[in-house]
Amino acid sequence: MDAKATVLAILEDLTGEDVSGDMNVNLFDTALMDSMDTVQLVLELTNQLDIDIPVSEFDRSQWDTPQKIVDQVEAKLQ
């Protein structure tokens, strides 16, 4: 499974909404996600894609839209 599909599946699971229609929606400003969801996102990504994301690396401004999350994950996978 590719990074984008995995990220979108996890996000749908967490937010209860399909965000693929708006890849640039700000997940925190729109209250779709909070710190708890963030932690779960990191855990799921770590488990499903076998990548390492330390909590310190989670700078909100770099992870606040679906597109940014996909970009970050793709950068990790390379």
Binding site: L43, P54, S56, F58
Partner: protein, 408 residues
């Protein structure tokens, strides 16, 4: 020798701005005069921690040596190894001075620790943050002077805002472009003038003019309501104190941000219209923001991460509730080891847990619940009053009211 307390009176700014002129001219031409800045910083620190406060100066020096050695040893260790217990021991050793300073008054009945100094908690936040980022390898090396400069950045040394090392270092190593710097100076001057209004006009009005008289009126009715002292003047005290707390601290924070801006450093802001918050969660995204974000990133998120990774608690909702409790309890203890700071922490933990339950309920019943500007206004009013009540606890006035009879 003289002693100067930071931002204590308007003349402080006149002298400070004069001393900053060479640095500002340098920045205007795209250069950071590092040596001048180091000398100026040292001079300001000597003024803050010298004179009759010399023992604080000694405590600061000992503290800095303690942290520098610790961080150097851990950074070296971390290059080859990464044991969890070493990390935990390092964090504990780093906060020992802070714990001693906070515990001493509780144990000795009000005497301050000889090892305390202005800003010890804020320096500890920065040191712990660096250790945590070394652990996560988002910081790989920590040159001694970079570390010392970050910890002792004088505009924020006494009470924050709490910056992050990587952000600070980036500002410090890259002098801003001329247009960016001019914009920054404009922003800085605006912050300083707004801070003057907040701290020396509004903060003074609420804190020094109104507060003593409502306090006296509330104490005069300490027998009211079955001896609990619940009276209208007490309600007045609650609101006046809340206003004082905000304007005094927000004013101070604006000074720190403004002076940082003049020095080409974009120190993060601490307040964003907190009394317009729609709920408690929103409030903590607007009040003492650098502290609350520090707790979010280094306590709350790490606690939830740990609990979920090791599956200590199954239910997701319970995980967040436990983490909120840990988070706000630590925050309460950090303010000081007194019953009212700890109750303040527990109160906010309870408030945010209830808030979360309500938000989940709202999400499920989005269709049935009305949502318009009246419900929004109601949300703001309710949040404001919950917050003001928490500040009444925080103020310690209930302690005076209930437990210090005969104090006149």
């Amino acid at each position: 020798m003289i002693n100067v307390q930071p931002y204590a009176n308007p003349m402080y700014f006149v002298w400070l701005v004069l001393a900053l002129i060479p640095l500002m001219v340098g920045l205007f031409y795209g250069r950071r005069l590092q040596i001048y800045e180091a000398i100026l910083s040292a001079a300001v620190l000597v003024l803050i921690f010298g004179g009759n406060k010399w023992h604080q100066g000694v405590a600061l020096i000992v503290y800095m040596i303690w942290q520098v050695v610790l961080v150097q040893v851990y950074a070296r260790y971390r290059r080859q190894h990464n044991a969890t217990w070493v990390f935990i021991v390092t964090v504990i050793v780093s906060i020992i001075p802070l714990v001693l300073v906070k515990l001493t008054p509780a144990i000795t009945g009000g005497h301050n620790s000889w090892w305390g100094f202005l800003g010890v908690s804020y320096l500890s936040f920065k040191a712990v943050q660096v250790i945590m980022e070394l652990r996560d390898a988002t910081i790989k090396t920590m040159p001694i002077w970079d570390f010392v400069r970050f910890l002792l950045f004088f505009p924020t040394v006494s009470s924050g805002p709490i910056d992050r090392f990587r952000r600070f270092q980036k500002d410090y190593t890259e002098a801003p472009s001329q247009s960016d710097y001019l914009y920054m100076v404009g922003k800085g001057v605006h912050s300083i003038f707004l801070g003057l209004l907040y701290k020396f006009v509004l903060g003074y009005l609420f804190g020094s003019v109104m507060l003593p008289s409502v306090a006296q009126a509330a104490l005069a009715q300490r027998g009211a309501f079955f001896g609990l002292g619940l009276s209208w003047p007490l309600v007045g005290y609650m609101y006046v104190y809340s206003m004082y707390l905000f304007f005094d601290f927000a004013g101070y924070s604006l000074f720190a941000v403004g002076v940082s801006n003049l020095m080409g450093i974009d120190t993060p802001v601490n307040f964003n219209q907190p009394f317009r918050a729609l709920n408690i969660k929103d409030f903590w995204n607007r009040w003492h923001m650098t502290l609350s974000f520090w707790f979010r990133d280094f306590v709350f998120m790490r606690t939830t991460f740990f609990i979920m990774k090791h599956k200590l608690v199954k239910n997701r909702v319970h995980v967040s509730q436990v983490a909120y409790l840990v988070n706000f309890l630590i925050m309460g203890f950090w303010h000081g080891v007194t019953w009212y700071y700890i109750v303040y922490g527990l109160f906010h933990a309870g408030a945010i847990i209830i808030n979360d339950i309500w938000l989940r309920y709202k999400k499920r019943h989005r269709k049935q619940l009305p949502h318009n500007r009246w419900t929004q206004a109601l949300a703001i009013v309710v949040t404001f009053n919950v917050v003001c009540f928490s500040f009444l606890i925080f103020s310690g006035f209930l302690n005076t009211l209930w437990f210090t009879h005969g104090m006149r």
